[in-house]
Symmetry: C2
Subunit: 218 residues, 2 copies
DNA sequence: ATTAATTTTTAGTCTTATCTAAAATAATAA
DNA sequence: TTATTATTTTAGATAAGACTAAAAATTAAT
């Protein structure tokens, strides 16, 4: 199978390539992985030898169908473990990532299928991100950034764009959780802040926050 | 912290040293780890540098208090994961070892403490082996090998000596499980087999089996 | 108490995954 | 279009963990 390092590089290439038609550049990968471009070139060759990516010198990499499938399976494991940690082990949503980064590399098909069943076959992780099925397919929710909603629009909080601890902890402090209903009461042109109603409270939300919260329109 | 390899060597040294006063030999470790004596010597030096073992050239190693504590913590994780796999994920007791070997290296104190709570703070793993507490202490059950019981003696099946898949699958097939009450009906001098009563059935058990089943005397 | 056999260690090599520095290629600007 | 800048690759080095073969130390046997 694949080494820890190979899996981590593949996952990064998978995420970086999701919304782009062209290849993923060496520097992009290096930045995301906090490593050097030369290390990336080395690893890319290994991934290419294993048919996980297609590599053309100086032209970046593109993931293959096999690679995409393999990566989606790692993402599936990561997100299922995140659900487990929150639902069964009382982790908060800002604590799960680091541990899931370790757990996603455990090799046992039975383990992950049984875990899926134990959790009731969840479709989203604690941050609202979709969990791929066994075939690597997933169905992203229809969602918009809070910042793009118009005055008076209503929706349900379904995910975050930024999963950093500081952002998630901010949401906890403001008692904003996935599933909450939100209505836009006002938009302030001066600083692009937004006034919202959430669970019978009124809050003023900065533009930065509004650009990192996903809403499903009702 | 410690690498995967360091943890695996330490665990082996811990287990090999449990019932002996003298040091553990290089060859013993190599045999158990399925590796070469020279690799063991290399690793022993690393463990010694990290104060996990005391090493004297040609004299084998002894684990330190710090090493014993570290090893017991890995064993604690291994056995808690085994309980989880059996109790929550429908693994059978012959399937758990391989996966637990991976899971035992996950680093997260919160994870293991919450897992312990989720499982109801179990004291034994699915094979009847004791689970060390956070301080590395554990309390082995008073137990005897079935082969050593006298005629008419009764007890409860509390553990296995051999955890190989083939032995565990044999027990499953014979419907012998931990917790079952067993009574010795007869002992056959010719082949040292034993006649037992278990859950209203009578069985003839070979000496080899009887030497791998632990019984708590009633 | 030497010799022989076994165990353990050392020395040197290999692979994986990293890095730095330099060379090669591609992209951009004058 | 040529020169400059940025990106990417290559070459060579390093560290961890493993191996083989040979040397050294210990143990066993005559």
């Amino acid at each position: 199978m694949f080494t820890l390092s190979e899996e981590n590089y593949l996952k990064t290439i998978y995420h970086l390539g999701l919304n782009s038609e062209i290849g993923v550049s060496t520097n992009e990968i290096a930045k995301k992985m906090q490593t050097k471009a030369s290390s990336v070139t080395d690893m890319i060759k290994k991934l290419s030898d294993k048919n996980l990516v297609v590599y053309k010198k100086y032209k970046g990499v593109r993931i293959t169908d096999f690679g995409r499938n393999t990566a989606a399976n790692i993402v599936r494991k990561h997100r299922l473990w995140e659900v487990f940690l929150v639902e069964k082990l009382n982790f908060s949503w800002d604590e799960v990532h680091e541990v899931a980064e370790q757990l996603e590399h455990i090799k046992s098909p039975k383990l992950i299928n049984e875990l899926d069943a134990l959790l009731g076959f969840p479709k989203q992780d604690p941050h609202g991100d979709p969990i791929p099925d066994k075939e690597g397919n997933y169905y992203p929710l229809e969602k918009k950034l809070l910042a793009t909603l118009g005055l008076g629009e209503k929706g349900i909080c379904v995910g975050v764009n930024d999963s950093s601890s500081s952002f998630l902890q901010f949401l906890d402090k403001q008692k904003i959780a996935l599933g909450n209903e939100i209505k836009v009461l006002g938009k302030e042109p001066f600083d692009d802040s937004i006034q919202i109603q959430i669970a019978n409270r009124e809050l003023s939300i900065s533009n930065k926050i509004a650009n990192n919260l996903y809403i499903k329109i009702l």
